[in-house]
């Protein structure tokens, strides 16, 4: 087990810089998820930690050792790849034993360790099989087994579940989390799937275009996104955004959007005339009774089972509202939507930064310059 410290890492391919100075520290035993859209540089960062990509500038340390110039095999890391990267010609046993055979460990020790890993991962019946005789989930477990027998100080995962079907993905998610609980090894896990990130991470690092947008605990990031990008990226259906201008009504601050008045909490840090994006998550925008709430018109109703997703039009802007009430609604019905005042986030449209957001001096929340 070890901590990982990444300081001011930059990476360019040819003349193109893809990572623009990344700072990140991962505590011993922490499960960190690097989350971001395709092409944001997650894999590149992970591969630099693994030693598979050269570092242009900056420093990476594992434990207290600067590993910039260390060969991957000397970094004591293990990596699980998206397409498993199994040794197709070797049995499951030999796949897992390979690293120990290279180190010329005694045979009985190798056997003991492989059997231990196989029992953790439920692979014991398959040890003699070839990888091609296994299902996708089993292959992924072999890849994990190959990683855990080495007893590494850091596990690196690069989108390990993206080749699996939805059901298996949910199951493997739990298994990886359990594995982390059992071994309590530091994990850096790359994904573009926000559900995966939310469910597994101790800490989520949101990346975009080679910059860190926000670092925080899953719920922290969900509840207090630092900017528009994070707010939009996390959550499904994603947060509603309404453009408008700050005004006042009956002594309270409000946002006026296309003639519709959107309420704000009394203590909102806004000035009249300010242009803002008014953000509210669908589950915090509920259909109201009687004449309270923002007037809207239903456009689509999607029952999902546990809840109903109502898409509605507020002054020409589309929003989504989620309710567990069994409402009978059809398109074009008038409806009133009530936002939970304490959940409203306001963003500056120009910079995307949150206005009434989290305390920006929080040590691990790095905002984009």
């Amino acid at each position: 087990m070890a901590s990982v410290t990444i300081s001011n890492i930059r990476k360019s391919y040819g003349g193109l810089e893809v990572l623009h100075g990344i700072d990140l520290s991962v505590a011993n035993g922490e499960f960190v998820v690097l989350l971001g859209p395709s092409g944001c540089g997650k894999s590149t960062l992970l591969r630099m930690v693994a030693g598979l990509e050269a570092i242009n500038s900056g420093q990476i340390s594992i434990g207290n050792v600067v590993v910039n110039d260390l060969h991957p095999k000397d970094r004591n890391i293990a990596m699980v790849f998206q397409n498993y990267a199994l040794y197709a010609h070797l049995s499951v046993f030999d796949n897992m034993a390979f690293s120990m055979q290279l180190r010329k460990l005694p045979k009985d020790e190798i056997r003991r360790k492989v059997e231990w890993a196989a029992s953790i991962l439920n692979l014991t019946p398959y040890l003699d099989r070839q990888p091609r005789q296994l299902s996708g989930g089993q292959r992924q477990r072999v890849a994990m087994g190959r990683a855990i027998v080495r007893d590494p100080s850091v596990f690196l995962f690069d989108e390990p579940l993206s080749n699996l079907d939805a059901k298996l993905r949910v199951q493997m998610r739990t298994e990886i989390k359990e594995l982390h609980h059992k071994l309590s090894t530091t994990i850096i896990y790359v994904t573009h799937d926000q559900i995966e990130a939310m469910t597994m991470a101790d800490t989520i690092v949101v990346l975009r275009d080679g910059n860190i947008e926000q670092i925080g605990k899953p719920l922290e990031i969900y509840d207090r996104p630092a900017n528009l990008f994070v707010a939009e990226f996390i959550g499904s259906p994603s947060m509603n955004f309404l453009s408008g201008e700050v005004g006042a009504e009956a002594g309270r601050p409000v946002v006026r959007a296309n003639g519709v008045t959107l309420p704000l909490p009394l203590d909102a840090k806004v000035t009249a005339g300010q242009i803002v994006k008014y953000g509210i998550r669908p589950e915090h925008l509920r259909p109201g009774a009687g004449s309270e709430g923002i007037p809207a018109k239903v456009s689509v109703v999607e029952p999902t089972g546990p809840e109903i997703h109502i898409y509605a039009d507020i002054g020409g802007q589309e929003v989504c509202s989620i309710t567990q009430d069994r409402l009978e609604l059809s398109p074009d019905d008038p409806i009133r939507l009530v936002p939970a005042l304490d959940k409203i986030r306001l963003f500056e449209p120009a910079t995307g930064k949150v206005i009434n957001g989290p305390d920006e001096s929080r040590p691990r929340t790095l905002l984009r310059a």
Partner: protein
Amino acid sequence: MQETFWQKRLRDVAAVLVVGLFMFPLFWWALTSFKPTSAIFDKDGIVWFDFKPTLVNYAVTMLGKSRAELAIESGNTFGIGGASSYDSRQTIIDSLIVAVGSTALTVLLAVMAAYALSRMRFFGRQAYLNWILSQRFMPPIAIIVPVVFMFHYMSLLDTRLGLVIVDTLINLPIAVLLMKSFYDDVPADVDEAAMIDGATRLQIFRRVVLPMVKGGVAATAVLCFIFSWTEFLLSLFLTNSIRTLPVKITTFVTSTGSEWGFIAALGTTAVIPSFIFILLVQKQLVRGLTLGSLKE
């Protein structure tokens, strides 16, 4: 798509027809090799099975008997001519040495060169690949004169080693490109996983990647073997006492007529080594030609 009964029948019939079309010349050639000269050329028509099978053609080409000897033995002296220069045993041995030697050398060089080309990023890599490919465009006849001179100065003319070298040179480009495509099918992640597992480059090559492209190696080897086994032009120019099979067969066309029986016997025999070789690597070959490794 579910095939109907008739679609299935139709496909079977088509398969039989295609196989028949390609097998017929082989069959005819093999049949001819058992015919007496009188049945090969019959002024009244084509002889199919209406002849007395004979092993004369094989006895002459494979056992080195002279035809006169055999004719006298059997009491049939129709169409006697020629001496025992039809003995092809040495030819087969020479051809085997050249084909096996050049195949081994080509494959040895190609598996290493192709691995480097597939995995390593070095300056001029693409140019180098294009250059290799361009070697493939070059017709052997274009280089024959300089090669003859070079071989003369290096005393490689009329040696088996010389033929091994020249066949290797001709085969190497296609072998490298073919092997590279097999390596390219093995994801680079596999190399990286092995690297993290602690393997050196050489260990990755020998213990991980090479075993994963076994099928490709077999396919490449078969290709090289068949090329070398049937190569005619270079052997013709570079040898005179050593005769590989294709060259030897041309000597059966003489000023007094073509010895179709002997040509057929030797031609039929010549199919056997390729056949055995392909049979040996058949399992790898099918895998090699379909799928290099484990892919999603």
